[in-house]
């Protein structure tokens, strides 16, 4: 608050004060109030300063994105000369990030470090390094891992780390892996549709038990949704043996998700909403890849004029914009992909093939911007986690579908990483490292 002309000035958030000043201008023009009164009203309010907490979160988001880009760029530089390296050196390089993450964990224990940022960084670095090491060893020896083996090896190997760090990113990361394993478990298109339906259903019990703050009700909610989800998968697969692998994996991930993370943490108060969101986002990421649409549209059984698609796209964009402006983005995120996907199935024959993936990409970015913005404004870490991870996955998805040389992509990601880290530093210095 401030003082001018002896009046106490009221600090108001920037969007609201702009709205108010526009209204005052309008009242003046309409003659409702005099210019003097307008000036008096304007002088009564002042734009609130950006809170330090939001600066901190914003800086953290940009820095994490930047570090991720720099790491990806470095990996690409190594990939560029990978084939010229000796086999032993290649194995050693594959294990090097993993060894680095062990040193990080050791330092965490030795210095009894309990700050959130270091715990999350150590756990996510270990998870990423394990995925990377396993993938590179698979590439060196031409091992065709099944997704089930890949998933179980990683989750089993990194499980003790979550006990040490109580990491949220570990649970989110394994949740994403689980979704990938689900998609890989059979015919691609059918699995995607079933996945989208089942993860949407995950939200239902959580909404039913919206007051479920105690442990028993949480477990009940999880079990109900997992049972429902698994039934759908079983029906889809004709009770295929691989479904039996998915079932215990889901229960296991659920127990870990509920137990291993501190119950006081906001992120896991509504775990089913989180899981549902991850599943929806995964479906959206896949929707940005043109070849995936080729698989999906095989299941389109109806055909209608192109205007339906145009209408669908307009509705989708409007809802996305509405979601951003009104802050009800999660509710609409559940609805919008459904509309776009269903209409896309109908209209794919009448529009150029690039339009659908581009529309989905636009929608995805809008939703992620809304998530990060909502998280920063309301200082809710869970939305920022989702938005940040979403951005990372979008970058990876775009990276996978890009068709430019390795060297050029390495340079692109290094440049992008440098810019993002610089933005993070500009916002709030290195304060996030000290929390």
């Amino acid at each position: 608050m401030g003082q001018k002309w002896g009046i106490t000035r009221i600090a108001v958030r920037s969007p609201r004060i702009h709205w108010l000043f526009r209204q005052v201008q309008d009242w003046q023009s309409s003659g409702i109030i005099s210019p003097y009164q307008g000036e008096a009203i304007r002088n009564r309010y002042v734009t609130a300063a950006f809170p330090a907490g939001r600066k901190f979160i914003s800086s953290l988001v940009w820095s994490v994105l930047g570090i991720f880009s720099l790491l990806l760029g470095t990996v690409l530089v190594i990939a560029n000369c990978w084939q010229d390296l000796d086999q032993f050196l290649r194995i050693l390089l594959s294990l090097l990030p993993l060894m680095g993450s062990w040193i990080g964990l050791l330092a965490l224990i030795t210095f009894n470090e309990r700050r959130l940022v270091w715990r999350e960084l150590a756990a996510s670095a270990n998870l990423l390094a394990t995925v990377l090491a396993l993938a590179l060893i698979g590439q060196i020896y031409n091992i065709p891992y099944s997704m089930g083996v890949f998933f179980i090896s990683i989750v089993l190997g990194t499980f003790p780390v979550v006990l040490l760090t109580r990491s949220i990113s570990w649970v989110v990361g394994t949740g994403i892996l689980l979704n990938v394993a689900l998609i890989d478990s059979g015919s691609f298109g059918v699995r995607c549709v079933i996945l989208a339906l089942s993860v949407a259903m995950l939200a239902v019990p959580d909404l039913v038990f919206s007051t479920a703050n105690d442990w028993t009700k949480q477990i009940l909610a999880w079990s109900t949704s997992i049972g429902f989800c698994t039934t759908l998968i079983w029906v889809a697969q004709g009770i295929h043996p691989s479904a039996f692998l998915i079932f215990p994996a889901m229960i296991w991930a659920t127990i870990i998700g509920t137990l291993a993370v501190s119950r006081s943490d906001l992120a896991f108060r509504r775990p089913l909403v989180g899981m549902s969101l991850i599943g929806m986002l995964m479906t959206l990421f896949l929707g940005t890849i043109p070849s995936v649409w080729d698989e999906w549209v095989q299941f389109s059984v109806v055909s209608d004029p192109a205007y339906i698609c145009v209408l669908g796209a307009i509705i989708g964009v409007q809802l996305a914009i509405f979601s951003v402006t009104k802050g009800h983005w999660f509710r609409w995120l559940l609805i919008v992909p459904g509309i776009v996907f269903i209409l896309g199935m109908v209209a794919h024959k009448f529009i150029p093939s690039w339009m659908l993936p581009t529309a989905v990409l636009f929608e995805l970015i809008t939703a992620l911007v809304a998530a990060v913005r909502f998280g920063i404004v309301s200082q809710r870490r869970w939305w920022i986690h989702c938005g940040t991870i979403g951005f990372l996955l979008t970058m990876v998805t775009q990276f996978v579908s890009a068709n430019v040389s390795l060297g050029l992509r390495a340079a692109e990601f290094l440049l992008l990483g440098g810019i993002l880290v610089a933005v993070g530093y500009r916002v709030n210095g290195w304060a996030w490292l000290k929390k």
Binding site: Q83, W102, N126, N142, L163, S185, G238
Partner: protein, 193 residues
Amino acid sequence: MVKKIRLILSAWLDRVTDVATPMAVLVVAIGLQLGVMLVHIIESEWTLHYGEMIKLAIDPIDPFDPFRGAYFEFIPQVFRHSFPSRQPMSVGDQVIVVAVDPKRTQWAISADRPRSNQPYFRLTIKSANGNNFFIAPPFRRVILDDESKQIVKEAFGNGRSPKHGAIYLLVRQRGDHAMIQGIQVGNRVIEQN
């Protein structure tokens, strides 16, 4: 009852995370992670050293990889054709393919377990069309350096007139495990592992 279980689990979690021996947990984590990696490395090296060598004629296709750019993927001809089956099969089922001639150019589905000295591949059904089905190869893609790529391209007539059978995949097979040893182009062998 539920309360009791909850208390026991919470106490156990607190013990592991707060009080007991985080260093021991880290050692277990490192052991597990290293173990997972070593299992894959040792199993692969063992097959490469002690597995039986099998030559399989290959066709090339050249897809795209985000980390490697354009590359060759060699799928042995024997795995690219569909296999007829008398019994219904579904995607994800496993079948055993055995060599039916001494030169090992002809392979067929076997209902029985292979004999002890008979080479075989245990493969997963990738797609099915009626009673015919296609199987996934037992190894991943092969990535070549620029020089080897050129040799292979020339052997295949630069993609204009593929000379089937001109190139062989050298595979080491042992039990259920199969590893690519190299690629044979004429008399020349491009080592892979």
